[in-house]
């Protein structure tokens, strides 16, 4: 039973569901909803019954934005798209300047959103293809655009968009409104000119633009190059500065490093210097000590010794000076005594000689007178002999002269011998003018000089004595023998024979002196005759 009841309930539920589903499907099929971009155009049964929010026009309803219930078979619903359409319009036209241009524009339009526009459009385009709408719009626009273009210049068309749009609005809006269309946008896409008018319009500007571009590019390039160069210069300068700073820092680093390196040796050297200074100081002190020690040990005793020796030497010197003075005094006294003695002797001898000479002179004078006669007599007798002998002698003289020419020394000796008395007198005369006699080599020198003087005096006395003695004894004999002397005779007899001549000359000053021994007898003979 319960099973039957359950089955019945299920069947009932299924039937109900099926009925509900059928009702829903029927309602769903009868209900139309307008999309936001479309309008429903409903015509047919009860189309005149206007619900709220619907437009009414010539017996059909316009539904936008909501649903509407239709009765299939009784009412007919069609959709009118409200979306935008686009038409491209290409118009060959002539501008105000009679220049042929091609205009290409795009017009965007749609069905107006108000019921009048929808109704207008519905009556014209409902259920027509979109191309027909486009064609209609294109035809309308082509005619109007041609007229608009003919009233404008090409330049205005290009630049004055507002004016063009204004013209389009003025001319086209009314017709479009009658189509129920609204122009959303009208744009001229392109204006081309088969005669290259537009291109030529652009040429001056293009050239100017190109020129400006080139100028700008050149300027920019120049500036860029300048900036680059300046930048490079700055880079170089910065690099230089950096290098300089680096070098400076490196130098400082090196300096610091070197200074640090030097610190060790420097400190060591300073320490060593201090040590050396101290050592030097010690050495100096030691030297001072040694010096002081030497002062005490050596110098003081040495000074004392030196003083002692100096004193002793001075004393000895004084003693010797006194001794020398005494000896000199002694010698001087002895010399004075000897001189006095010598003077007395010399005076005595002189007196003796004077006396002898006077006596001899008297004797000679007498003898001369006696002999004069004898000689004259004998001379006459001898004249012949003399003549003969003279001749022989002349030959001898010649031979002697030749011999003398070969023996110069003999002649010189003869000359010296002839002048010896003058030499001796000259030597003796040097002492005649002596006022003060200074002896340089001490007492011994005085003694020597005195001895020499005495010796000379002695020699002179001997000479005088030898001279006088022959004169007294052998005056005539000698003269006779003299002519026979040959040239080879020694000097000593010559001197001896010449001295009597001098002595004779002193007594008779007018007689010539220094004659040859051979001439002496003749001279004496001639001089004796006047006497």
């Amino acid at each position: 039973m319960t099973l039957d009841i359950g089955i019945t309930l299920v069947v009932i539920l299924v039937v109900i569901f099926a009925i509900l589903l059928t009702v829903f499907l029927v309602f769903r099929a009868s209900w139309r909803v307008a999309e936001p971009d479309e309008a429903l155009i409903i015509s047919g049964l009860r189309a005149n019954a206007r619900p709220a929010g619907t437009g009414e026009s010539m017996g059909f309803n316009i539904v936008t934005g909501r649903g509407a219930l239709i009765l299939p078979g009784l009412t007919k619903v069609r959709r009118l798209s409200l979306e935008a359409h686009e038409s491209e319009i290409t118009v060959p036209c002539v501008s105000q300047q009679k220049i042929q241009v091609d205009l290409r524009g795009i017009v965007v339009y749609k069905v107006g959103d108000d019921y009048q526009s929808i109704a207008n459009a519905a009556r014209r385009f409902l259920d027509r293809p979109a191309t027909e709408l486009e064609t209609k719009v294109q035809n309308v626009f082509v005619g109007h655009l041609r007229a608009i273009a003919g009233s404008m210049t090409v330049e205005d068309m290009i630049s004055d968009q507002d004016k063009f749009t204004q013209q389009v609005r003025d001319r086209c809006t009314q017709e479009m409104e009658s189509f129920g269309l609204v122009i959303d946008s009208f744009q001229i896409q392109a204006i081309t000119s088969p005669s290259a008018y537009i291109e030529n319009l652009a040429v001056p500007h293009q050239a100017e633009v190109e020129q400006n571009a080139r100028i700008a590019r050149a300027n920019a390039e120049r500036e860029a190059v300048g900036q680059e160069q300046a930048a490079q210069a700055q880079i170089a300068e910065s690099t230089r500065n950096t290098e300089i700073k680096k070098a400076g820092y490196q130098a400082e680093i090196d300096q610091a490093t070197n200074a640090a390196k030097q610190q060790g040796p420097l400190a060591e050297a300073k320490a060593r210097q201090a040590v050396v200074e101290q050592e030097t100081r010690v050495a100096e002190l030691q030297a001072q000590q040694t010096e002081q020690q030497l002062q005490v040990d050596v110098r003081k005793p040495a000074d004392a010794e030196a003083y002692r020796q100096t004193t002793l030497a001075a004393a000895a010197r004084d003693v010797r000076i006194r001794q020398a003075e005494a000896a000199a005094q002694e010698v001087r006294l002895a010399a004075e005594a000897a001189a006095g003695q010598t003077r007395v002797q010399a005076e005595a001898q002189a007196a003796a000689l004077t006396i002898q000479a006077e006596a001899q002179a008297g004797a000679t004078r007498l003898t001369g007178q006696a002999e004069g006669d004898a000689i004259r007599a004998r001379g006459l007798a001898e004249a012949d002999a003399v003549k003969a002998r003279m001749e022989a002698e002349a030959a001898g003289i010649e031979r002697r002269a030749s011999a003398l020419s070969h023996n110069q020394e003999a002649v010189i000796a003869q000359q010296i011998a002839a002048n010896l008395p003058e030499i001796v007198r000259a030597a003796a005369s040097s002492f005649e003018h002596v006022g003060t006699f200074t002896v340089l080599n001490g007492a011994a020198g005085v003694t020597e000089t005195l001895a020499e003087m005495i010796q000379q005096a002695g020699v002179l006395a001997n000479i005088a004595r030898q001279t006088i003695a022959p004169m007294i004894g052998t005056q005539t004999g000698d003269g006779a023998g003299a002519p026979g002397d040959s040239a080879g005779r020694s000097a000593q007899p010559t001197i001896v024979s010449s001295i009597p001549t001098r002595r004779t000359a002193r007594s008779r000053p007018e007689a010539p002196s220094g004659v040859a021994p051979a001439a002496a007898p003749a001279t004496e003979s001639e001089s004796a005759q006047p006497g």
Partner: protein
């Protein structure tokens, strides 16, 4: 339908000059629509971007507007 927009504020999108229709943009039906416009004072020129008040309808999609400079109405 132009009566729907009478009393609304609009913005001039094309200059209104004497003898020529301009264009205004009106907020209507939750959107904006373009309407042709004529100045209420026929001799005045209303430049672009001027706020105007729609004061009347000339039928179709043409309205009569007046500048709001003097009125300063609240929106």
């Amino acid at each position: 339908m132009s009566l729907d927009v009478v009393g609304k504020l609009a913005r001039v999108t094309a200059e209104i000059t004497p003898g020529h229709l301009g264009e205004v943009m009106i907020e209507v039906r939750q959107g904006t629509e373009r309407f042709l416009a004529r100045a209420a004072d026929k001799d005045s020129t209303i430049p672009r971007y001027t706020q105007v008040l729609v004061v009347g309808s000339l039928g179709g999609r043409t309205v009569e507007v007046s500048p709001t400079d003097a009125m300063r109405l609240p929106r």
